[in-house]
Symmetry: C2
Subunit: 330 residues, 2 copies
């Protein structure tokens, strides 16, 4: 029998601050760059293609002494049943004994850790004087991405939000978050060409399978954090934007297969060797980020279980301090 | 938020009867034979080869409308720390919505479902008049294997137990279980050659990497349920025993890679085509089991997540009826 803490979504939300999650995700990238992590093979199954699927991501963080997994299911029809389409469970084990130590709802963790990933790419690669942020996509992850990017980039003054499906999603996201960000100007936009030309930082978080941003709209010096592409065939940027850009990734073999760089590589616009390196290598100073104010920089983030595991571990450790969660003898 | 039942090892033990678990595992094999199951790819990682590893087995039972996984860790050094070497967690999800529905300790479930697997192989393949059972290996799984085989084979009169490490393990297992089986003669043995020659049914449950039973000791008509081999390189029988035997498996591609038949196939003693079929095909009557009283029959059971998932589902449904477990809003 072994004590294990079960932490639900509401508890996780209270336990995790954006600031600490950003630090945590930087720590994940640092451990990865120092070769102190292992990402295990992905298990993916489509129950009904395009309608229902599940995946199991797992891995090991040596310095944090944890391993574990996240099982995520996506059932498109759930919304009609009044259920969330995306559900997930994170299981964290002690890598010194193998004992399970915590189980957490996976949906909130996925949102907050993905928001941190995009924010960190921006922090290390965007121009320091960036003032104009454009979010492409106004879904669940965008609601984390904006506050976390505003923490990582305190110079941002204007946030524009474009949603490829309906401007209403952008408007309701703004209504939900703007009160928390006094002094920031929020704007829901329909003209993505114009908004692109006004932006220093563009974060894409859609499930798009066709490019949303054309090369000719982009001004010199723009940074992109590309978050949406996490499956073969997904893309958010005109592949030509990659030509000549300084490109950074989160897990090169995975980015080549399923990330934003998949299609530019397949089209011969860039090669794998054109990727400058992983974001963690920038964080630890092994490789250089942006060189000139005019560089186009791209952070292609596909996400690994490592992000969920160390974020979950943070929640477990905060829960222990605060006496939160349901402790069960398993 | 979604209600999920957390069921620990002690609760699982009270909820599951041997009889119902045997029925449940027959149901798993039946669904598998009817092509109503999917076994997802195995994730396996050695943290420290021979010292610590973990695996994640997962799958989907279409008729039972569940999918999920079992994460099992094995830390050989845990025993010195007063912890179990083997620890596991089972996560079961509703295949209609993707929602997690239960989390269970994996160690007890692994024992009871593996015991049922060996018992079912014996029930369908051994001679009906079998009286003499030999257990090779006196560990955790053997303590389930014996009572479950005695239920499946009510004609058994004598149970001999041989442990390749120390007869004390066989003696202490007998001391633990014999009071529950009045009328059965139990005997701890050291002469495996002689015990083999006396046996109608032999069940092997060791982690051996060298054969423990030689062909010349085996009498005609013997049935083997081979449970120990679940990794490349493991073997419990002299590969020559396979020559001319009627061989049945639980998941052919997995058996070829990691089961008892791996080495006889690699040595050219048998081919994959010599395998008669999967045990579920015998249960549903698609293929024939034993033909003659003199056949040597072998059931090579490697185990899949399907067994854990449907056994876990049985525990969840019993727990709901009895109000057992810790229900958490995840």
């Amino acid at each position: 029998m072994n004590k294990i803490n079960i932490i639900n979504a509401k508890e996780t939300e209270k336990l995790l601050s954006y600031e600490k999650v950003i630090e945590t995700i930087e720590e994940v990238y640092t451990q990865k760059a120092n070769d102190r992590t292992v990402v295990f093979p992905l298990v993916f199954h489509e129950f009904d293609p395009g309608v229902a699927d599940m995946d199991i991501k797992s891995g090991w963080l040596k310095d944090s002494k944890i391993f574990g997994l996240k099982l995520v299911s996506w059932y498109g029809d759930n919304v009609e049943k009044g259920l969330p389409a995306l559900m997930g469970t994170v299981l964290i084990c002690d890598a010194e004994t193998g004992a399970p130590k915590g189980i957490l709802d996976g949906a909130y963790i996925t949102g907050i850790r993905t928001g941190a990933a995009g924010a960190i790419g921006t922090k290390y690669l965007a121009r320091k004087n960036s003032e104009n942020l454009l979010l492409v996509g106004a879904g669940h992850v965008a609601s984390f991405m904006i506050p976390e990017t505003l923490i990582a980039m305190p110079g941002i003054k204007t946030v524009r939000i474009y949603d490829p499906i309906d401007i209403k999603f952008a408007e309701s996201l703004i209504a939900k978050i703007e009160a928390n960000h006094k002094g920031i100007k929020f704007e829901a936009v329909t003209d993505i060409a114009k908004a692109t030309g006004l932006s220093d930082v563009i974060i894409t978080v859609t499930p798009s399978k066709t490019p949303l941003i054309k090369k000719e709209w982009v001004k010199p010096g723009t940074h992109f954090s590309c978050i949406g592409a996490d499956m073969s065939g997904k893309e958010e940027l005109d592949p030509e934007i990659s030509r000549g850009a300084r490109i950074y990734v989160d897990d090169l073999p995975q980015n080549v297969n399923v990330g934003e760089i998949e299609i530019p590589i397949k089209n011969g616009i860039i090669t794998k060797e054109d990727v400058v390196g992983e974001i963690g290598e920038v964080i630890i100073g092994r490789i250089q980020g942006r060189i000139s104010e005019d560089d186009i920089t791209i952070f292609d983030a596909t996400g690994t279980a490592l992000l969920d595991l160390l974020t979950g571990e943070l929640a477990i450790s905060e829960a222990e301090k605060q006496g939160v969660g349901t402790v069960v003898e398993l």
